[in-house]
Amino acid sequence: MQKTQHYVLFPNHDNAMRLYRELKKMGVRAVIAPTPRVLSTCCGVSLLIEEEDIERIQQCIKEHGIEVLKIEAIERDINPMRDKYC
């Protein structure tokens, strides 16, 4: 299990969906996810990506003029046994 996770953060969900669609066309793995609290205090959509794909993703962002806030790495903090619901 990887220890870090990489997220692409966006100014709005439209840009997130644009990048998501482009990445799917390219066959690059990306999961739409809520932005982790440690990365932003706003609720919102981000893309969970694989580290090895970052370069291709950055290229895609540039090529399609997609607005992105940043790509951030955080320590993986997912635990289905934590039993902290909301």
Partner: protein, 424 residues
Amino acid sequence: MADYRKMWEDLGMDVETHDQLCAVLPQAFGDVYLSQENRPEGMDYYNMVVADIHGIRPAELIEHQKKGGKVFGTFCVYVPDEVVFAADAIATGLCGGSQFWVPGGEKVLPTNTCPLIKASVGARIDRTCPFFRIADMYVGETTCDGKKKAWEILAEDVPVHVMNLPQMKRAKDVKAWAEEIEEFKNVVEEFTGNKVTAEKLAQSIKLINAKRRALERLYETRKSENIPISGCDALLISQIAFYDDPGRFTQMTNKLCDELEQRIADGVSVFEKGTKRIMLTGTPLAIPNWKLHNIVETSGGAIVCEEMCTGTRYFERQVDESRETVEEQITALAERYMGINCACFTPNEGRIDDILRLAKEYKVDGIIDVNLKFCNLYDTEGYFVERAMKDAGIPVLGIETDYTDSDAQQLRTRVSAFIEMLNN
């Protein structure tokens, strides 16, 4: 990040308190959903809906209002959305599924009220949910005593129309429900200024039937020996069905079903072969109540069906699309909706029949009868449910819980023991 603070402030929300809910959602969602292996790609749509749960759809509803449209908030699967959409209005579910809203509800309701009602009232009076702020009118019903009194409290703050749901299922009760729907239609027409014509109602009946068929198709895939989607994911879809745009929801759910059916053809399952198949029956699991599903599916079980309002009660059976006049269409609506089997009816043997039928259809190994604390109706009916399952030789576990995390470990112990018993 998309910043909806301005929109929330304009809605009169308590943005600071609401921020506490935003703070915990990503972690809970990550634990329950992003932890899963081999999730269907089509779940990304529902991830997006949750990620911006208080942003994207509320913004759409506000846009609708800016164009003069109305939004109706509903709390029950007996309220016919078709009537609302036929008046060019939007219906959105308002049931609260988070402990976050419960203390707010307890300010005005007795503590021994079910958490769903407390959360729903709390979300309104604490001003911490945009959907509760946006809805122009709430539509209540008489499905339990707690709700009946809650409507009176809410009506001091927001327009509320209460539909009087009969408590028996004789022919005259179906007729009475048709009359209630007729009265509701009149209220909706007056409130929106739009006439519900036979043509408009026929369109909205088709719209909502299509949503039901998409959900039915989704559930059909869960009958497969190779289960292509987790119960957690199926629950999330059911929860989102209550407030998403119905046309878009249907399209996205059908797209997901294409993927799931391909998985079945390819022999792909998200569970190991031999994982015990569990059906849940009981009270609704409103968003974001994912506790029991997560516990079951991380304790060696696979949830394959929910005989719940957030489950089969919501989508089974269509409204007859062949009726031509508004009166006939209303009769068709009454017939379909009165076919739902809720514990508020006496007697309610149809629900036992449903559970036994579903247990066969979904090839379940065991049933969990789960009821929200202080839901007297479902708790009492549990006597018949559990007896009928025992008579049919279906192992059953009765659980009473609420929205807090405090009983999670105890639930894990009980659920694990139940699944272990099924495995032996």
